[in-house]
């Protein structure tokens, strides 16, 4: 397996200026509303989880050329195709051509408010005490990952300080690959700008990530 995410953009040069946008400008074409709603409605069927959908999007080979909601639609089509829920000829024809395997749930209009209000909390009971405490110096894993991960490349192999212990949370790295929740302690770890970007970095910058315990070891 050679897993490659195209979404790990932190620290990349050459992307140009940020273009601000007025408040309330949410969609730029009618289909974008549908992309949002279809993605949320299909997510609610339980056919996959949120980490799987992030993984589906970040591994799209043409990630960098797609707009945001194009990513959502292509990610959704990929999740559906992988599970045999939809076939390419059906998308071409714009109608159902093959039997529909049953799903656990279908989201009904009346259930939407309760579903959104409930959300999907990821905190789980602790099975063991946390390995690290606030204030402790830690080093992040340096080697690359061959699977979905939420440790950004710019923060790999860096020394930082545990600032907050955030409880035990579903581990995205396993959850994204159908290997269960395997909940892990989650920490906010802060790095100095110089640790991340070198001595040229302007002083007075701190950057934090939220890191699950398997990403961390005690700093030498």
């Amino acid at each position: 397996m050679s897993y490659r995410s195209h979404a790990d953009l932190g620290g990349e040069d050459g992307h140009g200026r940020v273009v601000p946008e007025p408040e309330g400008e949410l969609f730029h074409a009618p289909w974008e509303r549908q992309a949002l709603a279809l993605t949320l409605a299909m997510g609610a069927t339980g056919a996959w989880n949120l980490d799987m959908s992030r993984s589906a999007r970040e591994t799209l080979p043409d990630y960098s050329t797609l707009s945001y909601y194009e990513l959502w639609i292509k990610g959704l089509e990929k999740l559906l195709a992988e599970r045999g829920l939809i076939a390419a000829d059906e998308l071409d024809a714009g109608r159902m051509l093959h039997p529909a395997p049953p799903l656990d749930r279908v989201l009904r209009a009346a259930d939407v408010p309760a579903l959104l209000a409930r959300g999907a909390p990821t905190e789980r009971p602790a099975a063991a005490p946390p390995r690290f405490a606030a204030g402790e110096r830690v080093r992040t894993r340096a080697s690359r990952f061959d699977h979905h991960t939420r440790l950004p490349g710019y923060a790999r192999g860096k020394i930082g300080r545990v600032e907050h212990v955030r409880g035990v949370h579903v581990f995205a790295d396993t959850h994204a690959h159908g290997r269960g929740e395997q909940p892990q302690w989650l920490y906010t770890v802060v790095f100095s700008g110089r640790e991340l970007w070198g001595d040229d970095c302007a002083p007075g910058l701190g950057v934090s990530i939220d890191a699950w315990e398997p990403y961390l070891e005690i700093a030498p």
Binding site: A29, R33, Q34, V106, E123, G167
Partner: protein, 209 residues
């Protein structure tokens, strides 16, 4: 990519192989097939869109901030347990399950990003703006936050520490901007009007009344 090249994430509805209507057709086909298979209830789609287009948005967060400005006890609660404090005002749920509030001060300015995707506190800010999800913001916020702030017309004193929070897990961050001077006599509702969306991400400041 050259810095003056068009930003791919700023384009909408066009793919390499099609014109502007290509995505419209593609999404319509997908919706039809999913509905025929019984996987979606079209009425549920309408409720989802209405929720995020009209009922949820940064005015929610602005009310949280205004309350924190006028009520010290609420502010302390918000900094200690943002999920519970925000829920007390009625804002809960999807993409806001684990909230943390960050208070901007004269000495420290907080800025929130998701370099890996687009994590954002939906119950208090609604859906993220395009720039928040775009490559320029995600790439630069963690390395050159002052440059990003300049793109928003914001310049902070050199002595102000900048703290960037990369939302890499399911914790969602809400910035409490500094209360603008000259607002002592304003009502909570008037104060909420000073709180912009960008000020709650950290790419802006609360505006003077």
């Amino acid at each position: 990519m050259a810095s003056d090249a068009p930003q791919p994430h700023a384009r909408h509805g066009q793919t390499e192989d099609g014109g502007p209507g290509d995505m419209e057709r593609r999404v319509r086909a997908l919706r039809t097939v999913l509905a025929e298979k019984g996987y979606i209830d079209p009425a549920a789609l309408d409720v989802l869109i209405d929720t995020y287009e009209r009922k949820t948005g940064p005015r929610n967060g602005a009310r949280v901030v205004a309350r924190a400005w006028v009520d010290a006890e609420f502010r302390n609660w918000l900094l200690r347990d943002a999920t519970a404090a925000i829920a007390s005002l009625g804002y809960t749920g999807r993409q806001g399950e684990h909230m943390v509030a960050l208070e901007n001060t004269a000495s420290c300015h907080n800025l929130v990003v998701c370099t890996l995707c687009s994590c954002y506190p939906w119950p208090v800010l609604g859906l993220p703006p395009t720039w928040y999800k775009s490559a320029p913001y995600r790439a630069r916020a963690v390395k050159d936050p002052r440059g990003v702030l300049a793109d928003f017309g914001i310049r902070l004193p050199e002595s102000t520490e900048i703290r960037v929070w990369d939302s890499t897990a399911e914790v969602r961050y809400l910035v409490i901007p500094q209360r603008p001077p000259g607002t002592d006599t304003l009502s909570e509702e008037q104060l909420a009007a000073c709180v912009t969306r960008d000020s709650m991400i950290g790419t802006g400041l609360a505006r003077a009344p």
